[in-house]
Every structure is written in structure tokens, then in C-alpha cells.
């Protein structure tokens, strides 16, 4: 029992360190270059795709769990992973595999954004 709790605690610690570390790298880049939020998201997603394709990201996911899948580079990991798995099944799946793997995220974003737009209004800020 004690061992199990320690494992869970370690998993959280790893997720925190790796996830926070990825955000930290992004923040350092923002501090030194004035990249906007949109560009940071695209670059980190592309980094995720590339790192997955060369086989570096999978060990990180195995190690840190949500710490590597929750950042946007995890979205890139999902895309690249889908494409790589699809490539084993044939040409058609090699092309469609990436978006198929990411369909859950994109669908959720569209549906929930639509619902929120139905309910909420944008509000002005004071600071």
C-alpha cells in the first residue's frame, strides 16, 4: 500500500516537473524574443511532432505521463503518433491517421467553444 501511494506521488511529481519544464522553456523564449501566444503554440506543437517522429518524445510520455501529453507538444505527439501508426496500415491511413488521432481534441474544442459562446459574453478588464 505504501509503495502504491509513493508511486502515485512520484507520477504527480514527474508530471509537475516535466510539464512545468516545458512551460518554463516557452516562457524563456517569450522573455527573450517577443513571440506571441499563437506562434508559441504552433512552434511547440511542431516541436512535439518532430520529437515524436525521431523517437524522443515517446520515452518522455512514458516517463512523465500527463506532464508530456497535456502541453501543446503533446498534441503534436498525438498527431505524429497517429500518422506513424497509420503508416503501418497503408497509404490511406498514413495520410489520415494524424487528424484521426487528434479528432477528440479538435471536436471537444469546437463543441465546447460553441457552447460557451452560446452562454457567455466577453467582459472588459480593469487590469
Amino acid at each position: 500500500m505504501g509503495q502504491e501511494i509513493l508511486d502515485i506521488f512520484l507520477a504527480f511529481l514527474k508530471a509537475f516537473a516535466v510539464g512545468g519544464g516545458i512551460c518554463l522553456i516557452a516562457q524563456i523564449i517569450i522573455n527573450f524574443t517577443d513571440l506571441t501566444a499563437g506562434k508559441i503554440l504552433v512552434y511547440f506543437m511542431l516541436a512535439g511532432v518532430v520529437l515524436t517522429a525521431i523517437g524522443v518524445y515517446q520515452p518522455l510520455v512514458d516517463f512523465a505521463g500527463a506532464g508530456a501529453t497535456v502541453p501543446i507538444s503533446g498534441f503534436g505527439y498525438l498527431l505524429a503518433n497517429g500518422a506513424m501508426k497509420g503508416a503501418e496500415r497503408g497509404f490511406f491511413y498514413a495520410v489520415t491517421g494524424s487528424l484521426a488521432a487528434a479528432s477528440a481534441g479538435v471536436t471537444a474544442a469546437v463543441v465546447f467553444a460553441f457552447l460557451m459562446a452560446l452562454i457567455f459574453k466577453s467582459r472588459t478588464k480593469r487590469n
Binding site: I30, T36, A37, S122, R123, T124, K125, R126, N127
Partner: protein, 331 residues
Amino acid sequence: MKKGNTVFFKNKPRISSFAAICGSKEKEGVIGGYADVTLDDDMYGESTYEKAECKMLTNAVSLAIEKGGFKERDIDVMFSGDLLNQIISASFAARDYDFPFLGVYSACSTMSESIMLAAMLVNAGYIGRAVAATGSHFASAERQYRYPLELGCTRPPQSQWTVTGAGGCVITDAKEGIKITSATMGRVCDYGVTDVNNMGAAMAPAAADTFMQHFRDTGSSPEDYDMILTGDLGALGSRIVKDLTWEKGYDISENHVDCGEIIYKVIETEFQGGSGAGCSAVVLNSYVLSKMRAGLYKRILFAATGALLSTVSSGQGESIPCISHAVDLEY
């Protein structure tokens, strides 16, 4: 009469009345006690922020006319503009009135440009009374120039905060009121600043250029003014404009005041102060002109600065051309 880029008004058009409306954030600052109307709700009871901006502008114009004891039919023309595309707030505000409307755009320096144009027509005797007004709204400017309001992004410390507010004044050929003695038409200055978050640095050269042109043309020096008022350079831009004029032998550090710097409590590591067309309009038409009329200031040089960029030009990597027009006010 014109000398250099400065026109001198021998008939001395007057600012007979003025009015300002400001939002809830501005209310807490120095101008809160001087503005005629302060909003608790930045929506101003409307359904969109653009409509709220238009309503603020309409009410500022109506108040200015009313405070001067004029009627709508006394006004010959209205000069106005704002920051939104195709100056919709000003045009839409003008449709509520019977008098003619001349749209003006020079970004955040719209207030000084419209005062200058109105004074020119009044001085020439073509018209008797003109309204000059402008305004801006934080939420509508944010949406047009930056990001959606709810997007979680950081604001760099160089950035400024668009003022929610509107101000207007009535310029007449009356014999009393605040005199407009001369006005300097600004040149467009571009020193190659491309950072859209650093408006202060982009606009400071334009302000410095107009100041020095004005001093040369009128033969005055910075000490002749009780206050040299810029529009929305912010804390950073104010430092730069002082440096730029000092380099050329004019020391304005004693009496330079920036509307953007005084409208909020500036924390320099977070933001540099207010910006937007409404910034200079609100501060001038509430705090500054009230103090002037009370006799606290005798002579003020008011030069609002404007950044003439659009989202398209900055997207294409263009630098930011800026302009500043100055009007010389005396009481």
C-alpha cells in the same frame, strides 16, 4: 497667418465649453473628480462595446453643447474621429445630430487635430461654433488591434492601456473662454519602431518634432508654458521625448506632463499608462481645461500624439509612422 508649419489665429477662437465621460477604471484616477459623467459599467447599458463607445461620444458632445448654453441648432459643424475602422463611432454619433459632420482620423492625436481644424474655420470666419470631440473604448480597441478580451496572454511591460472615455469641446468666436492662439501641424515621423506594444517609443519622435517646430515658429521656449501636455506617450515615451528635445537644446523636463502617465497609477514594470484617442480627450476636457479656467495654468501647449498603423500594416512588418499636432492654449 502661417510661419513654418504653425498657423497663428489672429481672431483668437475660444474653447467655450467642454465635457468628458470616463469609464470605471479611469474614474479611480486623477480625472475621476473632474469628468462630467463616470461609468460604473463599461457597457454603458448597450449590447456591444462599439455601441457603448458611440454612446459615450454622443453624450460627451451633447454635454459640451449643453454646458456652453448652446442649442443643437447653434452648432455649425462637428469634427470628430476615433480609433475604430472607418471611424464608425464618430460617424454613428454624428447621425444623432442635425449639424454637418467632418470625420477626422489621426489615431490618438484626433483631439488636437480636430481642435486645430475647428479653430482654423472659426478664425477664418466661415463658421461661428464648432464641436471637436473624440473617444475610445478599451474593449473595442483591444478587439480590433490586439486579441479577443478573454484570450489569456501576457501584456509586455512596454504596453499601454486604452482609455475608456470620450471628451468634446465647443470652439466659438466668442470673446471669453480659453484662447487658441496658434496651432502647429505635425509631420509624419517614422524612426523605424516596429514593436506594436511599444507605442511610446514610436510616437516620441513625432511629439519632439512638433514641439521643436512650434518653438521655432513661435519664437517661444519651453519656459513660456505652464504645462507642455502630450497625449499618450506613457512613462517610457515621456522619458524618450524629454531626451530627444534636450538633445536639440530644448529642456521640457520641468513642465512636461503626459495624459497617459497621469490618468492611471502607472507601475512601470507592468504597463506604461493610458493610450487611445480617449486618453488625451478625457484628460484635456476634464482636468486640464477645468484647472485652466480656474486660473491655475495660464498657457498650455497641447500636443496629442498618434500612431498611424493598422493591423494589416503591422502584420506585413511595416514600421509605425506617427504624428503629433500641437495647439497653443491661453487663458
